[in-house]
């Protein structure tokens, strides 16, 4: 397997880059495994990696319907943050943040994690008070947060319309400096390579078509490449959760699938060196290392499994961008795309054993799954290996909705399109 270092880069450059080895094997599926993970996205791959690394379980297959990382891990806007209000979320996402901070070194793969900060803008005094409350809640649990006044924000983001004339004047903001962005494809590739070199089989173009059962118990899967048995079958399929769970006979879930669009502009010179979010709508933007402005807004708002959205949201996102950055009016949008998000009923994820014997479920990431990639895999691997949750994912059960233990960070109620 390929090892990466400054020396190997130089040596390969001198030899015309002809000797690079593939980063992971392309094995055929075996007849059985200890663990099957359905879904070769960020969460499935990180689960496989931590199963092998932390728990010594290496007889594992990751089954991916398309090619590796073709779903949401390659479709998000790459923001990483842990600025939540409720303790369950803060602890979980802060654990993720700590894993991010060591990830490139741990994987020997540059995931280009850049702690450039994430600034939530406040546009009313009440919203500023609300951010102060959230910042205090974060600091109470040891997460960095600082309130910013408009003058400091102006210094940080000169292009922002911070004049009193703006439609929604900026009255302050909440900054998490340790937040930032990461190269999303590299995260998938790095985890894939790390899992593969520990013995995990990553099987692409292998669509799961059903489950093998022994009574209630799940004993394996049927796939487009034959039947595969396993003691434990883990599901990490994000927006396709409803479809996959229906194959297992689970008709209803506390989840709706919605489409979220994202956009990138042509490359610009350095324009903004942080992640900024709009407080009077739903808009967030950062600048990639290539120079494109990467941004997005709200989900389209109705159930959708189509990986494409509609024009009203495009219009809304552009309006919000121009409300913050009037100077971007002439910038051309390069690409737009959509990803299918598993919107849960309280805006928080589900990482749990069950709901059927032999099955493990990881879903409900809404549109915030990318930043959770390390901790999602880490806690899911723990749950699969030990058949009990780690304290970080113990609150994220499937039955919390029926038991009145929802974790609703935004207080929106059981309305998935508002989370």
């Amino acid at each position: 397997m390929a090892e990466y270092s400054a020396l190997s880069l130089l040596a390969n450059a001198l030899k015309g880059n002809k000797d690079w080895k593939p980063a992971w094997r392309k094995p055929d599926p075996k007849a059985s495994y200890d663990v099957i993970i359905i879904g070769g996205g960020g969460h499935g791959l990180s689960t496989a990696y931590y199963l092998a690394k932390e728990h010594g379980i290496t007889n594992v297959a990751v089954l991916e319907k398309g090619w590796l990382g073709s779903g949401n891990v390659g479709r998000n806007t790459t923001a990483v943050r842990s600025n939540y209000l409720l303790p369950a979320n803060t602890r979980f996402y802060e654990h993720s943040m700590k894993l991010w901070e060591g990830l490139s070194h741990e994987l020997n793969y540059n995931v280009m994690f850049s702690q450039r900060g994430c600034l939530n803008l406040a546009h009313t005094p009440a919203q500023f008070d609300d951010y102060a409350r959230r910042g205090n809640a974060m600091r109470h649990l040891g997460v960095d947060a600082e309130l910013m006044a408009p003058a400091e924000i102006k210094r940080l983001i000169p292009a922002l319309d911070i004049s009193g004339d703006a439609r929604f004047p900026v009255v302050g903001g909440l900054m998490q400096r340790r937040a930032g962005t990461a190269r999303h494809d590299a995260v998938a590739w790095g985890y894939a390579r790390g899992a593969d070199r520990r013995g995990v089989d990553i099987i692409e173009n292998c669509e799961v078509t059903g489950f093998l059962r022994d009574g209630d118990r799940i004993t394996g899967v049927t796939t487009s490449r034959g039947d595969i048995r396993a003691k434990k079958v883990a599901v990490a399929v994000a927006g396709s959760t409803g479809r996959v769970m229906r194959m297992a006979g689970v008709e209803t879930m506390p989840i709706e699938s919605h489409v979220l669009q994202a956009f990138v502009t042509e490359s610009l010179k350095p324009f903004i060196d942080t992640v900024v979010t709009f407080g009077m709508g739903h808009f967030y933007m950062s600048q990639s290392d290539k120079g494109g402005l990467v941004y997005g807004g709200d989900i389209d708002g109705y159930n959708s499994y189509a990986q494409r959205g509609n024009l009203p949201i495009v219009d809304e996102v552009m309006s919000e961008m121009l409300a913050l950055f009037p100077g971007l009016g002439r910038v051309r949008m390069l690409r737009s795309w959509g990803g299918v998000c598993d919107m849960s009923m309280d805006g928080s994820p589900i990482i749990t054993a069950g709901p059927l014997p032999g099955m493990y479920l990881n879903c409900g990431w809404c549109y915030g799954g990318f930043k959770a990639t390390p901790a999602s895999g880490w806690t899911f691997a723990w749950t699969i290996a030990k058949d009990e949750p780690h304290e970080f994912n113990a609150p994220f059960t499937l039955d919390r909705f029926h038991r009145g233990l929802v974790i609703d960070d935004k207080g929106q109620g059981a309305n998935p399109r508002l989370h």
Partner: protein, 98 residues
């Protein structure tokens, strides 16, 4: 996406407000059946394919509508007034693969 309002004719989706999953049946307000309430509030069929849903023509005649829309193609196969048209009696059980 165009929705053909029975009063107003085909109109852009921007005139409409999504009211959510139309497969759910609200229990009788006096019901103390917690499972039925939990199912109404939290559980969704979330099909990949035809989906029964409720919309309101909020930017037009304000009628509440029952719409069948395909979640894979966004194609709308039927629109009717919500009044008098209750949720389908039996929840769809079939596999929703296209």
């Amino acid at each position: 996406m165009l929705i053909t309002c029975p009063y107003c004719g085909p109109r852009d989706v921007i005139e409409f407000t999504y009211q959510g999953d139309g497969n759910r049946e609200r229990p009788d307000p006096a019901s103390q059946n917690f499972e039925a309430w939990n199912a109404y509030v939290y559980d969704r069929l979330n099909p990949a394919g035809d989906h029964n849903e409720l919309w309101q023509h909020s930017g037009g005649c304000r009628a509440h509508l029952r719409v069948v829309r395909n979640t894979l193609t966004h194609e709308i196969s039927s629109v009717a007034f919500a009044r008098g048209n209750h949720a389908p009696a039996a929840r769809r059980k079939s596999e929703d693969k296209p």
